[in-house]
């Protein structure tokens, strides 16, 4: 990792620190202040978009740990999010348990379901694993659709989140709840990558046989990656459930799973910054396309075919994913790193 000129380390703790210079600290505190005062200058509509971004970010961080660090391709992420969402919906709506219990249970249940469907990953990888996770997505959604406990096709209502007497009813109060959890998750993911576990994940991603020969317990670490990834998905699902207030399985389709993969690829696999950039990019693009751009075009050009609004968004998303894979497979995060390096070294680029 390149550091600004003149940064020296005298202790190990300095060497390990995430924020190392005064500028880092100023920027970091500035970012936090900006983030948590956002409800003051954003309209309710854009706060809603921010909340969706926060929720998606939590799920994407989980997927990034699973795919980006551990290299286990999972195309069933929306299914695991659905598990979390329905767990909290059942606990808080049918059993009337408090929100925090629902949140934790959502993560745990999603994690354990992830363990079950992650089991084949011990023996297979690559395409086989992709197919297994697609199958798991279909099985999960089918069970939810047909089980009477989950409300089936009719959907299920979810009460507002509340801690103690505090009820998160407005967009801005939910913004704080979601953003605090998202920030904690980002912090966790950043640190996980630097621990023994994170290094074991990366070793498995780069070559799992070599990792095994060097003494990494493949079964344990692959299962752990699935558990952590799906735990995050469950947490995201729980927040989504309380944020929307109503669930049906339409919200957790296979295309949504593919979109999650697209997000972390566009952002940059195996980086902390990647999921953030990817999620913001995709969700803002989605919002602009479906809410602003397509209806505007449809209104101004009446000869456009009827499917224009619903068709143009997936087309552009698919195109963006393919183009990123061909032109910049390391994602926006890599571009940002290049930019930072160029900025530091300017005007002498060596």
């Amino acid at each position: 990792m390149s550091q600004p000129c003149g940064t020296r380390n005298y202790k190990y703790s300095e060497d390990m620190a995430i924020l190392r210079t005064k500028t880092h600290w100023v920027l970091f505190v500035g970012l936090l202040v900006l983030l948590f005062t956002a409800p003051l200058y954003f309209s309710n509509y854009w706060l809603g978009v921010c909340n969706l971004i926060g929720i998606t970010l939590i799920a994407a961080i989980g997927l990034n740990i699973l795919v980006g660090y551990c290299g286990q391709l999972s195309i069933g992420h929306a299914g695991f999010i659905a598990v979390g969402a329905y767990t909290t919906a059942i606990l808080t709506n049918r059993l009337e348990l408090p929100f925090l219990v629902g949140l934790i249970c959502a993560g745990l249940v999603a994690g354990f379901i992830g363990l079950i469907f992650g089991m084949p990953s011990v023996r297979v990888k690559g395409f086989y694993l992709a197919i297994t996770t697609i199958a798991s997505q279909f099985i999960i959604i089918w069970v939810i659709n047909h089980w009477s406990l989950t409300g089936g096709f009719l959907g299920i209502k979810v009460p507002y989140a509340s801690i103690g007497g505090l009820v998160f009813r407005s967009e801005s109060s939910q913004f704080y709840l979601i953003m605090i959890i998202a920030a904690l998750c980002t912090f966790f993911a950043k640190n996980l990558a630097r621990t023994k576990v994170g290094r074991a994940f990366v070793a498995i991603r780069d070559n799992d046989l070599a990792a095994q020969v060097m003494g990494v317990n493949l079964f344990y670490y692959k299962m752990l990656a699935f558990f952590i990834g799906c735990f995050f998905a469950g947490i995201a699902g729980a927040l989504l459930a309380h944020w929307i207030g109503f669930l049906n399985t339409e919200q957790f389709s296979l295309t949504e799973s593919i979109l999650y993969i697209g997000m972390i690829i566009i952002g940059g696999l195996g980086t902390t910054l990647g999921p953030i950039l990817g999620v913001v990019f995709i969700r803002v693009l989605q919002q602009l396309l479906t809410v602003e751009f397509a209806p505007f075009l449809e209104k101004s050009f009446t000869m456009l075919p009827a499917g224009f609004a619903s068709g143009v968004t997936p087309m552009i998303f698919g195109l963006v994913i393919v183009l990123f894979l061909i032109l910049e497979p390391r994602g926006i995060a890599h571009r940002w790193a290049l930019f930072k390096a160029a900025y530091r070294l300017w005007p002498f680029s060596y």
């Binding site: 297994t132 697609i134 089980w147």
Partner: protein, 294 residues
């Protein structure tokens, strides 16, 4: 007993169509080791294109059907040339996700051009039911099975005797050696994609001539993966044998399990089979077990 026969025949013929679609996967996998996860969307798109030719443009069958084949060839060529070729020798993650991106894109096209999302193809086969040993079966199923078998036969002959077919098999075996012999490997890749699109299109038309064109065709394409997994990724024979197995388990399971489980259990059986095969025998019945070296 009549019920049993009925399930047997429908299962077999639907299974043959699944096997046909899954051949589209095996072709590409064998020659270029690319996992085509956009198979379901290809099936959907070509079924809608057939609808566009036969119903919207009103072409007769003898003109419309060749146009569909030409369209499928073109589609395969475009996909290989513009999405897959720039990614040759990239990690497997990119190769899988690029087909996912394609899947998304194709779904967008379908939503764009045919937004009403459910329709029926014109009748391709006579539908008078026929009686086989007490069972009453729609004639369509027999036709589907027969056409699938004919296409299997043609493909087998092609791969055995035609120069291009032999070159494709050779590429699957050893790319480097083939390149050294002067066979243009990129052209083989592009050919295999074109072939794959054509068989997926025919399989899709056969399926949608029975059940109509719905978004469920994507799921049909995904069910073809269970055929691929069960038969082994790189085996034609595996696909042909596993297809009817999946079709039969789907129709028997749907017929006999629905009273005990929830409705719609039929649609989930192929996916359950995938999970079971993964745990027990991940390389399928006839797949080549890969031994890795570090």
């Amino acid at each position: 007993m009549t019920e049993f026969l009925q399930f047997l025949i429908t299962g077999l013929s639907v299974g043959m169509a699944y096997a046909l679609i899954s051949l589209g996967f095996v072709l590409v996998w064998k020659s270029s080791s690319v996992a085509n996860l956009a198979l379901g969307q290809l099936v959907l798109l070509s079924s809608w294109f057939t609808y566009g030719m036969l119903v919207q443009a009103g072409f007769p069958l003898w003109l419309g059907f060749p146009l569909v084949i030409i369209f499928a060839l073109f589609l395969g060529w475009v996909i290989e040339r513009f999405a897959l070729r720039p990614l040759i020798a990239q990690p497997i993650l990119s190769l899988i996700t690029v087909t996912l991106g394609l899947a998304y894109f194709i779904e967008g096209i379908v939503n764009f051009v045919w937004p009403w999302s459910v329709d029926a193809l014109p009748r391709l086969f006579p539908i008078e039911p026929i009686h086989i040993g007490g069972a009453v079966v729609s004639q369509q199923y027999i036709w589907v099975a027969v056409i699938s078998l004919i296409i299997f036969g043609l493909l087998t002959l092609f791969f055995r005797y035609h120069r291009m077919g032999i070159a494709m098999r050779a590429t699957a075996d050893d790319q480097l050696a083939v390149q050294a012999c002067g066979i243009p490997v990129t052209r083989i890749f592009s050919m295999s994609w074109m072939f794959a699109c054509v068989v997926a299109a025919i399989g899709g038309i056969l399926i949608s001539s029975i059940g109509g064109i719905t978004h469920g065709l994507v799921e049909t394409g995904l069910k073809a993966f269970s055929v691929v997994i069960l038969g082994g990724l790189d085996s034609f024979a595996g696909a042909i044998i596993a297809g009817p197995i999946i079709g039969l388990s789907e129709s028997f399971g749907g017929g006999y399990l629905t009273p005990y489980l929830w409705a719609g259990v039929k649609d989930i059986i192929p996916f359950v089979i995938i999970i079971i095969v993964m745990v027990i025998k991940p390389y399928g019945l006839f797949g080549e077990e890969r031994i890795e070296r570090i």
